[in-house]
């Protein structure tokens, strides 16, 4: 390698490192604030983790805990107090319930339909497929208001159903699975029929296993989208804390930027954000594949 190439490579890294620093700024801020004491946050001192001096936290004492309980290191206090103040496990549970229900129903609806569209011949198939193509154009967030009106009329606002129902149909899932099933050889299905399998059995025992890779990508796509979704829960969940999804919880922690302690608040936000980020870092390739799925059509 020539010297010139080294210099070129160096420049590229310099640019990319600056970019990476800007991209990481809020992550740094978030983690740092969740570890430091209020004084350190307000004076912007202490670097990433602060001095971690054991101290007694006045807000904690005011809340009614004994002074002894309230004496600990800032990072311990922030995370402990975050869990004391808000039912974080509940929010996370809700997130799991909602995203999993959505994904399972989406698959239950989409898989048979995709199979029929790809492998069965029946009158009106082209029409159904063009309907799917048309529905692909409709952003569900865009029609949130009429959906909200419908749910309100049905008395479903502030229920799990409101969080789940609008997402039960994934036309994108149908489209994706259909494209995938098109590549499955007909012989496989014929052989299954020869063995006396019914169409239902074929869908769940033959097609489903072949579709696992596509399903996995779709699962990541779906779960990430709905775990992070804030707009829809914000529309249909008005005050019932028991139904809060993680993003609604985050909103609640934030409170007033000037009133509360920032440490415990950021600790809660980190707790809620971390599961997905850790999953992403572990299974990076699959995640990128799943999330950019829409780019592969």
């Amino acid at each position: 390698m020539e010297a010139k190439q080294y210099i070129g490579e160096g420049w590229k890294h310099a640019i990319l490192i600056i970019g990476a620093i800007v991209v990481m700024l809020p992550f740094y801020m978030m983690v740092s604030m969740s570890l430091k004491s209020q004084q350190e946050i307000q004076s912007i001192s202490g670097g990433l983790i602060g001095a971690q001096e054991t101290q007694t936290f006045p807000v904690c004492v005011k809340t009614g805990y004994s002074e002894e309980t309230c004496t600990m290191k800032p990072y311990q206090y922030n995370y402990w107090f975050a869990f004391e103040k808000a039912p974080i496990p509940r929010y996370l549970m809700n997130g799991v319930i909602v995203t999993l229900s959505i994904f399972i129903i989406q698959v239950l609806v989409a898989l048979p339909c995709a199979y029929a569209l790809a492998k069965l011949r029946f009158y009106g198939r082209e029409f159904v497929f063009s309907m799917v193509l048309f529905c692909l154009l409709i952003p569900v967030h865009g029609i949130a208001l009429p959906l909200y009106v419908m749910l309100a009329q049905a008395g479903l606002v502030d229920t799990y159903s409101a969080l789940i129902l609008p997402w039960t149909i994934s036309v994108f899932g149908i489209f994706l699975m259909r494209q995938f099933f098109m590549t499955v050889p007909d012989e496989l299905i014929d052989a299954a029929r020869m063995d006396g399998m019914g169409e239902y059995a074929i869908v769940w025992k033959v097609m489903l296993p072949t579709a696992i890779p596509a399903l996995l990508a779709f699962a990541i796509f779906s779960v990430v989208a709905h775990w992070n979704d804030y707009f829809w829960p914000r529309m249909v969940i008005t005050g019932n804390r028991d139904l809060f999804t993680p993003p609604l919880g985050i909103r609640e922690f934030r409170g007033g930027i000037d009133s509360d302690e920032f440490g415990p608040m950021m600790a809660s936000i980190v707790t809620v954000t971390v599961p997905l980020i850790v999953a992403f870092i572990i299974a990076q390739k699959r995640f990128i594949e799943g999330i950019t799925l829409t780019g592969m059509k």
């Binding site: 991209v23 801020m29 154009l137 208001l145 009429p146 775990w227 995640f287 592969m296």
Partner: protein, 318 residues
């Protein structure tokens, strides 16, 4: 050939759900937008185009269109170009590309709402590291670079940076000032979106055959820029079209950052459509005007996608 009726049971749930959840609401929104219906009312009256008339003539809604347009026009091109640049840089690296890729993709993954709050603190005038970084740089190299003093036409006493330093570290309150709020929100939008575009471009780049570059070189395209013009850019046509469309649709739907950071303010400079729908229809219970905004919003998106599918698609395929 099978002759069971299984297919009916296979497609019926999907069709019913598509009609109830996706198609009927379109008509419902259209219908409500011509009435004075508010959620909870027992009756309503047809008011013709009144809601649309309000939308295009009242200051608030004109500002809404402006804010949305500004946001989309700023965020889409910049995040697409940044995505492309990042992809090309990463593609040409000898080592370390994977690390940058992970970092640049993190914002796409992370819960946007949480990151919006993190940005709020990062950009906070007294707590944030951005303004303290700027304040510590007064009179130094940071001021020279970020104050654009290296540009010949910038007076080093009059630049925004120098003025802020002179006025007792009066750096912008990024999210609360009328002249900076929309740009700050745009910045966060770009920060969030470009990693996604980068990944799509990386996939596009790997599908360009090596031989094309060799052929271009034989034809005399020696410099990187010439090769980019001759090979890379045309070959990325379909990717670009796709990236632009999907970014535009996502950008149109911006809501999280606006709701948590600016609430449409200051003086409606960041009052984007999704937030307007939420504020009018849910918080103020003005369902009919919300429906009118919904119709215009859906209209924009449908026009855009049709434009992509049927007009441009024919031209970019080589």
């Amino acid at each position: 050939m099978h002759n069971s009726k299984a297919h009916i049971w296979f497609i019926a749930p999907a069709i019913i759900l598509m009609i109830i959840i996706l198609i009927f609401p379109l008509f419902l929104a259209g219908g409500i937008s011509f009435t004075d219906y508010n959620l909870g009312n027992k009756t309503f009256e047809w008011v013709g185009l009144e809601n649309y008339d309000k939308m295009f003539n009242r200051k608030t809604y004109v500002k809404m269109i402006w804010a949305t347009a500004t946001y989309v026009i700023v965020v889409v091109p910049i995040s697409v170009v940044l995505g492309l640049c990042a992809a090309m840089l990463l593609n040409s690296l000898r080592f370390g590309a994977d690390i940058y890729k992970t970092i640049f993709f993190l914002p796409v993954m992370a819960t946007l709402l949480a990151m919006a709050i993190a940005w709020e603190f990062t950009l906070h005038p007294t707590l944030g590291i951005v303004n303290s970084f700027l304040a510590n740089g007064c009179g130094g190299i940071r001021e020279f670079i970020l104050g654009f003093h290296w540009l010949p036409w910038v007076d080093s006493q009059e630049s925004w940076y120098a003025v802020a330093c002179a006025n007792n570290m009066d750096f912008p309150y990024w999210l609360k000032q009328k002249n900076t709020a929309i740009w700050t929100v745009c910045f966060i939008g770009i920060w969030q979106a470009f990693g996604f575009n980068m990944v799509l471009y990386l996939a596009g780049l790997t599908s360009i055959p090596r031989e094309l570059y060799q052929a271009a070189e034989m034809d005399g395209a020696k410099s990187t820029w010439e090769q980019f013009k001759l090979v890379t850019w045309p070959m990325l046509g379909p990717t670009t079209l796709f990236v632009v469309t999907i970014t535009t649709i996502r950008t149109f739907q911006v809501f999280d950052t606006i709701e948590i950071l600016t609430k449409g303010g200051p003086s409606k400079t960041t009052y984007v459509m999704m937030y307007a729908i939420f504020e009018k229809a849910i918080q103020q219970n003005l369902t009919s005007i919300g429906a009118a905004i919904t119709v215009v919003f859906i209209g924009f998106i449908l026009v855009l996608t049709f434009f992509q599918r049927y007009v441009i698609e024919k031209r970019v395929h080589y």
